[in-house]
Amino acid sequence: MQIHDNPALKAEARNLNFFYGEAKALKNINMPIYDKKVTALIGPSGCGKSTYLRSFNRMHDLYPGNRYEGEIRFFPDNTNLLSPEVDPIEVRMRVGMVFQKPNPFPKSIFENVAYGLRVRGENNKRVLDDKVESALRGAAIWEEVKDRLNELASNLSGGQQQRLCIARALATDPELLLFDEPTSALDPIATAAIEELVHELKKRVTILIVTHNMQQAARVSDYTAYMFLGEMVEFGKTDEIFIKPKDKRTEDYITGRMG
């Protein structure tokens, strides 16, 4: 399968370094994120892939002592997401995130999805109804919850909760969605549903996904980046990375030879 050689850029890391206090967790990362494509980040624990992912919506700002160098350019407007002048709340409106464990708020299904819109100041009932429905449809959970929108989100199954979290992220019409091991707490059926959803979502949004499951990276992504010890070792088309990686370290990792 051929992918276009030069898809449009949605974002690009440029000479990105990141420090947890003194510890350098990301070392001079340069990497494109292509528009409306799925990019997977793989690598052993502690390689920096989650640190990298979280840089995209400024999650690290929450802790003192964390420091970025370099930039993450966001297109089409060429904003540097890491610039201190850019409001992290604004960044998070454009860059949504879904975590490893489903984390619905202790509220109703409806309010979970409406939350981001209310934060943005939207209180018109009609607008909220429309947006919540379309987000729930987008996350492929509408049919399952449309008759119980006022029930507590915590009553849903794990797989449903995760799709609800995706709906919550979709409600604000993000341009980039970050997934941090979104299926590691789910069974194979719920995992397949999320993967199918990722496939649907990429028609309208760019996706960056961290996964420990290499088969999952191979299945869902168009591009794959292998990270090791804070460095970007290899970035390429997923088809090439899993058949003929260029770097021996990538080869060793994906064939299960890493000691």
Binding site: M214, F242, I243, P245, E251, I254, T255, G256, R257
Partner: protein, 230 residues
């Protein structure tokens, strides 16, 4: 090719057993082909039975190796060089098995010729010559697989053109021969079948060599585009 060890030593063992089985199968096919060539030269019809019996073993090995490949894919989900190795092996055994079939055809042709009391004439000498060349290609292709040696594999691929050219020249000679003396038609046709089988063995050896290049380099060099094609 990656020679460092997997985290799972069982995986390493599975892969190494698979490679050994391919070489064992290749060894059997090699003896089939060399016995068939020998029978052609000497008229030793008894070796025909040996070749046919060996073919059963070769077939069994093909099935067993393919089955192992399927299991390995299902259980280990091999990637990159491991995936190419398993995939390549599955194709190599197909070519080896077919080369064995061609050896069997040669053996049966030889039996027909000698049982009819028709020794191959001087026109048969050319066949022995390309048969040695095809056998050499098969041996080298198997060596290339054993050592994952792409240079050797490329030499095998290049050698195939010579076998093809010689086959065509044998055909021309035999056709002339048949026109000159129609009594030789039956034997000549048998010799053509034999020469054809030899030429096919060369093709299979070439295919094996191409699979070796794929395994090592991840390049599929079958069906190269024709140059200067408008």
């Amino acid at each position: 090719m990656n020679d460092s060890q997997h985290l799972s030593s069982q995986f390493d063992e599975d892969l190494s057993r698979l490679r050994t089985a391919v070489l064992q199968m290749g060894g059997l096919v090699e003896t089939q082909v060399s016995s068939a060539i020998e029978a052609y030269g000497t008229g030793e019809v008894t070796s025909v039975k040996y070749i046919v019996d060996t073919d059963r073993k070769v077939n069994d090995l093909e099935l067993a190796i393919d089955d192992d490949c399927a299991h390995l894919i299902a259980k280990r989900q091999p990637a990159a060089s491991d995936l190419r190795l398993v995939f390549g092996i599955s194709k190599i055994v197909t070519d080896l098995e077919r080369a064995g079939d061609e050896a069997k055809k040669i053996a049966k042709g030889v039996r027909r010729i000698y049982e009819a009391g028709q020794m191959p004439s001087q026109y048969g000498i050319g066949v022995r010559h390309i048969a040695e060349a095809a056998l050499g290609m098969l041996r080298q292709a198997l060596d290339a697989f054993a050592r994952l040696d792409t240079e050797l594999a490329v030499r095998v691929i290049q050698a195939d053109a010579n076998v093809d050219t010689e086959f065509k020249s044998i055909m021309r000679q035999l056709i002339t021969h048949m026109m000159e003396d129609p009594r030789t038609i039956t034997t000549s046709i048998d010799i053509i079948w034999i020469a054809r089988a030899v030429e096919r063995i060369g093709d299979h050896a070439k295919n094996v060599a191409e699979h070796v290049v794929y395994i090592v380099e991840g390049r599929d060099i079958r069906h190269p585009p024709k140059e200067n094609k408008a």
